[in-house]
Amino acid sequence: MEKRFAAPESVTEGTSAAAAANTWRWIGIVALIVIAAALPFGLSKYHVFELTMVMIYAIAVLGLNILTGYNGQISLGHGGFFAVGAYTAAILMHRYGVPYWLTLPPAALIGFALGVLFGLPALRFEGPYLALVTLAMALATPQLLKYFDTWTGGQQGINLAKPTPPAGLGLDRDRWLYFVALVVLLIAIRTAANILHGRTGRAFVAIRDHPIAAAAMGIDTAKYKTLAFGISTLFTAVAGALAAIVIGYVSPEGYSLFLSISFLVGSAVGGIATIGGAIVGGFFIQFVPNLANDISDAAPWAIYGLAMLLFMYTMPRGVVGTLWPRIVKFVAARKIAAQFAVSQREGR
């Protein structure tokens, strides 16, 4: 029954067809990284900023994918953890003069710790209940940020000085931050892939698909579910810290329910149990509401709502979750056909 959200099948089996798909995948990944590194030099500053935000959202969505897609715990409150990361960075920079790049580790640590703390009671909430609790959290986040105003600057928020790029690289600020975000994104993707394609990831998926069978096989479900929560919120908090640095401003209204729902929409559109889907989700979150805003104030919400319905009905695995297995299959089928042709010619 849970199959509709299953991760795409592993392509690392030893057959030559799968190996071919793997080679193609690496070629694709390297090409993407090269393009991503070249892009900022051909674009205006504003577009560079937009792409930086795409990558930041992608990190946050990746965090949500680990929790909701791979481990089956539904969160409607990841905007809250994004805010935690953002305010950690902002307070450290503003009050204590910590350099911007040093705020990422504490944001990650606090994100992880809060996620584990939240994940412990969440062990008792199943399915819709967890969604409910996290929805309430998303609604409470702006209130809490306003309430603790000695730390958070209340309604006005905190203005941050934009970081200066290291001298000698010849990069301006926006392009420098773009590369910072790109490096963090690549690290995040690699880390997520290592976790998810290994023993831990298989435990996450087993718990999602059949918690009782997973427990019977000796998986410590409580430990892994809490761990999934912590890792997920770590990613999202780091994304929040990056966003605070790049935007140079934090305020309670930026972390409303809309942000949390944005992550869920991005996740659903890209493919909730995929890693690559997070990037598609990042693009969706950054560009779709902006385009929709030209139509009407209400349009971003409407488009988010429609996207959620449409994707759940027609493409529940999201763009990447639907297309990637097909590409793999296509490449593998061609490889097998080629081998077959060769063997025919050689008369074997």
Partner: protein, 289 residues
């Protein structure tokens, strides 16, 4: 002491609104086993329909009845068109779809009626009664809720349709074998829930004023009420809603500033789920492995 009692009574009035919405949530949960995150926005939309009718010059109660009828039909259509495809899908799909509905209702209301806050007429005069312990408005709201409860109870207890609905919720397979059209019963359940929600919206609108985001807080309190009472128990929903209303009022008056209203609801939900996950009246669901 006088202030304390006053707070309790106005808490009961707010609580009866939470109770109505909680009841709507419980009905849908019992019938289709899913939590309807769009319940609040559906109620908000119904309230806008009532507002349009009243502004068009209809007498209040007539507008109210038409709104109920429209909401009932709307609820049934939503079940048929939007919910039916994800009925047997994983929880995540159902959650995403109802959140999508929430967004759509919110934005369509904003689109049609704009996000400006509107006045909503109260059907009850606002006079103090019982030595200024309550207002007639509070009394009216509580009265309407109680009346609705009695009608619902009678509907489920004494009518063939009510019996069929209970059967369909309890054991869909057997109900179908007895010739009950389970699909239609579920649709009626959604229709009824939409109607109950509409009542809650119309009752709360004179206090909260009308705008597309008015039900956000109410929905969270209604969830807290439904969970406190036990999400499988209609009576529990009502009791839970009332308790939550009174608690919210007392906490807001004596303990914590009211700008943390939603945080209180959040804490309440966590406390209930941690310490009494089945609520006060709910039954533990025993599953066969």
């Amino acid at each position: 002491m006088h202030q304390f009692l006053q707070q309790i009574f106005s808490g009961l009035a707010a609580g009866s609104i939470y109770a109505s919405l909680a009841l709507a949530l419980v009905m849908i949960y019992r019938a289709t086993d899913l939590v309807n995150f769009a319940q609040g926005e559906m109620a908000m939309f119904s309230t806008y329909i009532a507002w349009t009718l009243v502004n068009a010059g209809l007498p209040f109660w007539l507008a109210f009845l038409i709104t109920l009828a429209v909401s009932f039909a709307g609820g049934m259509i939503i079940e048929r068109v939007v919910i039916r495809p994800v009925e047997n899908a994983p929880v995540l799909a159902a959650v995403v779809v109802t959140i999508g509905l929430l967004l759509i209702f919110n934005s369509v209301a904003g689109w049609i009626y704009s996000y400006t806050v509107q006045d909503f007429p109260s059907p009850f005069p606002d006079r103090p009664v019982f030595g200024a312990l309550m207002t007639t408005r509070d009394l009216g709201v509580i009265g309407v809720t109680l009346l609705m409860l009695v009608l619902l109870f009678a509907f489920f207890r004494y009518t063939p349709v009510g019996l069929a609905m209970r059967a369909a919720a309890q054991n869909p397979a057997s109900a179908r074998l007895c010739g009950i059209r389970v699909g239609r019963m579920l649709a009626i359940g959604w229709g009824l829930a939409a109607m109950i929600g509409a009542t809650a919206g119309v009752m709360v609108a004179p206090v909260l004023f009308l705008d597309p985001n008015m039900m956000g807080g109410v929905l969270i309190y209604a969830f807290a009420g439904a969970l406190l009472g036990g999400i499988t128990s209609p009576i529990g929903a009502v009791v839970g809603g009332l308790i939550v209303g009174v608690t919210e009022n007392l906490v807001g008056t004596y303990l914590i500033a009211s700008q943390l209203k939603l945080t209180v609801a959040f804490a309440l939900i966590i406390l209930v789920l941690v310490f009494r996950p089945n609520g006060l009246f709910g039954t533990a669901v025993v599953r066969r492995v």
